[in-house]
Amino acid sequence: MTTVIIYALTATTLFSVGLYGFAIHPDLIRKIVSLNIMAGGAFLFLISLAYHTGSPEVDPVPQAMVLTGIVVTISATAFALCLARRIKEKTGQCLLEHRRKDTET
């Protein structure tokens, strides 16, 4: 029980840290890294549950879910990074100016 608590706590901490990083960094690449930390937190939470199942064997369902999640996250990361690169090539900077004036044409 203590093991699952420790890892689950770590997982939620990672998620919150990632969320904080996602919110404060204006830079795209840092935002994407922070999202990956959030993903790591979510995965760790699922795996700590898989381990929790008392019995000697680990619950395979969360493990399968995490494997799926890892593929999905890497695809999304690669796609987002490619978008960021294209933005850099087009505009010369890699920031998302929030609240850009929408009236510009």
Binding site: M1, T3, I6, Y7, A8, L9, T10, T12, T13, L14, F15, S16, V17, L19, Y20, A23, I24, H25, D27, I29, R30, I32, V33, S34, N36, G40, L44, I47, L49, A50, Y51, H52, T53, G54, S55, E57, D59, P60, V61, P62, Q63, A64, L67, T68, I70, V71, I74, S75, A76, T77, A78, F79, L81, C82, L83, A84, R85, R86, K88, C94
Partner: protein, 306 residues
Amino acid sequence: MDLVFDLIIGLSLAGVSWRIVRAREHFQAIVLFITFGLLLSLAWTRLKSPDIAIAEAAVGAGLAGVLLMDTLGALSSPRERAKVVISLKLLIPCLFLAGLMAYSILYIPEDFQGLGIVVREALPQTHLEYPITAVLLDFRGYDTWLELGVLLVAVLGVLCIRRTDNIKGTMLPAPAEPVGSWIVKLLLPLMVLIGGYLLWLGAFAPGGAFQGGVVLASAGVMLWQSGHPSLGLMPRLWWKILLCSGFLSFLILAFSSLFYTDQLLTHPATKTWILGVEYAATLSIALCLISLVLGSPARNHENKGV
């Protein structure tokens, strides 16, 4: 003893993640992120999930690291300093959220039973011996199918952003030094071997389509890094077909299952079907991941214009 180990891993994970957020240089943040991936795979080994540890080490630390570094090289000078200030306005809600989640974690039931028992009972019907592979390819095959779809759509998205229909023309300048080509010659066969081994292992032990595919993908990316055109050599149609192969094999399974059973994705009671799907999935995972890495940089001719 385990408790100490758990505490060390937990604390260092939290510490490293905080350092990543607070790091001044992007480069530093990415190096720390790779460390973070390795620490996570250590945690997963500890939690008896070797499959995920392999995947994380190859993807989280390996491919994600390559992608991030590569992008960083294109985006900014690596030593560029970011202004990192602690914003209380954001930190307090995040701390509050962390506190709420920590509180609710205490309510995880002591006698928690996941789906492990149900899976183990149904395992003999799948003709597979390893439960995770059974869950991935049989019980929750629909998820895996859509996951292959996500990979494929990501590749399509990258091609769409790049306005191209192939991944030719992103060749890196070949390194002049001999060690680079030597190490590729040495490691490449080994990685292909390991990829195949992991795939074969998946039927009864940790390993499987995904892990095998990821190792193959790293081999392909390494080839590209050493200045070889890698997948760019492939004829375009074959590249496309292999890219879709995993998704397509599930699609074929789905269509054929409409004819002989009531339920979608039911497969015949032989191992051949599952193995076919698994091999196709491995290939397309590897190809999609390589294409994601290779497709992301600007074309060479585009580069000149910029």
